[in-house]
Amino acid sequence: MKKLILTFILGCVIIAGVQAQRILPDVTVRSLSGEKIMSSTFNNDGKPIVISFWATWCKPCLSELSAFNDEYEDWFEETGLKIIAISIDDSRASARVKSIVLGNDWPFEVYLDSNQDLKRALNIINVPHTIVLNGKGEIVWEHTTYNPGSEEEVIEQVRQLIK
C-alpha cells in the first residue's frame, strides 16, 4: 500500500511539473499505399491539423471519425483544417483499414502505425486519442476517449487557433 501511495505522489509530481510546448516526433508511419512517411513532416500549410488515433476494433474511435466525417465539409470551409487519422491496428486488421476508410468515404489523411511507434512516442495510453496542432505544428490540445458530441470541443479548439 505504501508503494502505491508513493506511486501516486510521483504521478502527481510529474503532472504538476511538466509544461512545455510539444511537437510531433520523428517516427516512421506508412501511408495506405505502403510508403514510409515521417510523422514530423505532417503539415497543412500553416493551418491547424487534428490528429485522431484509432483502431478498427474500437467502437468510440469509429464514432468519433464518423462524427468528424459528418461535420468535415463545414469545418473545412470555416477553418481550413486537415484531419489525420492514424490507425494503430496491427497486422490482424491493417489490411482492413483501407477498405474501411474508402468504404466509408472518409475525407481524412490516413496512416498506419502498426507497431504503435508513434502512439508510444507521443505517450498515448489508449485510443481514441485526439490531438490538435497549431499552424506551427505545436501540440496545443489533446483529449483521450470520445463521448458523443465531443467533436464540438475539438472544433472549438481549432477555431481559437485561427482567430
Partner: protein, 532 residues
Amino acid sequence: MNRIYTCLIIILSCFSSALFAQESGRLSGSFESNNQIYRDDSKIGAVAPKDKFGSNNYLKLDYTYGKFKAGIQYEAYLPPLLGYDFNLDDEGIGHKYVSYQDKDLAITVGNFYEQFGSGLLFRAWEDRQLGLNNALEGVNIKFRPTSYISLKAVYGKQRKYFDTGDGKIRGIDGEMNVLEGLKLEGNSVLILGGGYINRYQDYTGPLEDFPSSVNVWSGRVDFIAGKSALQIEYVNKGEDGNSSTSKIIPKGEALLANYSYTQKGLGLNFSFRRLENMTFRSEREAVSNELFVNYLPANTRQHKYSLANLYPYSTQAKGEIGGQIDLVYTIKKKTTFGGKYGTKISLNYSHYNKLEGTETDGVFYKDSKFFGFEGTKLYRDFNVEIQKKWSKRFKSYFTFMNLEYNKGIIEGGNKGLVKAKVFVADMLYKFKKGKALRTEIQYLSTKQDMKDWIAGSLEYSIGSRWSFFVLDMYNSGKTDIHYINFGGSYVKNATRFSVSYGRQKEGLLCVGGVCRMVPAASGLSFSLSKSF
C-alpha cells in the same frame, strides 16, 4: 525501493527546472494505474487473493535533447491484478533505452520495440492488457541509404517479466520501393522486402543434430495499381526444439496473402493465411504468452460487442489454413435505402480449418498438400453490420453474427463444436447540451456449451468529460447468473479517471488475436491514466 523513488524525483525536478530554463530539452511521459479491490463471490467462482488487492502501475518517461532521446518505463505490480502472470509480482525499471536519430540513421541501445514486415517473422511489442512485453534488450539500427531503400538490424535478448529470456535474437530486414528507385512515375507502388532472424540458445541435452540455432527468413511483396492492392508475405522457419517434447520440431512455413479492391464508397478485402509449425519463441522453456518472436494474430474480424466476443478464435500456430472476406459499402445519400444520411453496410466471412496431419508427442507432422483444406473445422464466422443515421440526433447499428467455434480444439478438453447466433442492436440518442444516451441489447443463442446469453447496457455521457454506465450479461440458458457492472469516468484533456464495481466472467481475453485466460473476479476497480 525508496532509493529508486528518490532518484526519480530528483531527476524529474532537474528536468522540470531545466524545462523552464531552456527550450532545448523536453520531457514527456505517461502514467497508468489500474487497481482492483477483490471480494469472494462463490456464485461465479471468484476467489479473492490473500490481501484482496491488485494493482498494475506504469510510469513512462522520455527525455529528448536534439537528436538524442532517452527513456525508462517503471512498472510496479503491487501485486499484479488477477489473471496476470505471478512472475510479474515485483517492481522496477523494466524498460530503458538511449537513442540517436537523424534523417537517415537511428540507433537505439537498451530496450526497444520493432517489427519486420507484418510481424509474421518478427515483432517485439507491448500490450499491457495482455501483460505482454517482449521488447528486445540490445541494439537496434535503422538506416536509409536512399529515399527508396530502408534497412534494419536487431540484436539482443527478449524481455521476460523483469528479466530476459535465455535465447539470443539477431536479425536483419530490408525493403525497397522499386518503382521509386527506377524513377518510374505513376500511381503504382511496388515494394519488395525480406528479412532474416536467427535465434540461438545453448543446448546440453543428449540429442545429436539438435537445432540450438534456429534460422527463419521471409520475403514479401506489396503491389498497388489503381484500385487494386496485393500483399504477399512468406516465411520459412528451420527446425526447432521445445522443452515440452524430446523430439525435434520439423520445419515450418507461413503464407499470408491479401488482395483488396477499393473505390469511393466501397472496400473489398480478401485474405488468406496458412500456418504450419510456426510457434517461434526465443527460449525453448517459454510457456503461455512468453517470449514470442513472431506475431500470429487471429486472421478473423475482431468484434466490438461482448457477446460477439464470447467465442473468439485464437490462432493455431501448429497448423491452420483459412481466410476471410470483408466488404464495407456505403449506400449513397438520398436513395431508397440510403435515406437522408446514407446507410453503411459491412459484411465479413471467415473460415479456418486445421491443417491435416498427425501429432506425436506434441509435435505436428503435416500429411496434406500445401493448399489442402481437409482438416477439421476450427472456426467459421459470418457477420453483417448495418449502420444507419436517422436524424441529427439518432443513430443505430444492427449486427448479426452466425458462428461456429471448435471449443474442444481451441480451448482444449472435450467440449466439441459450439454453433451460435448473435444479435446486437446498438442505439445512440443525442440530447441537447452535449448529453447522450447509448443503449446496447445483445442476444446470443446456442444449444451448446453455456446455452443462451442476454446482455444489455446503458451509457450516459455529459459533454466530453463525464460518462456513466451500467451493464449486465445474463446467462439465461444454464446458470441463471447475472454479471452486473456499473461505474463512471471523468476525463479532462489527456487525464482519465474511472471507477467501476461488479463481476467479471472467466474466459479468454483477446487483444488483436493474442489471448490470455482471465479468472472470474468480483469487486471494485479504479484506474487513473495521464499522458504528458
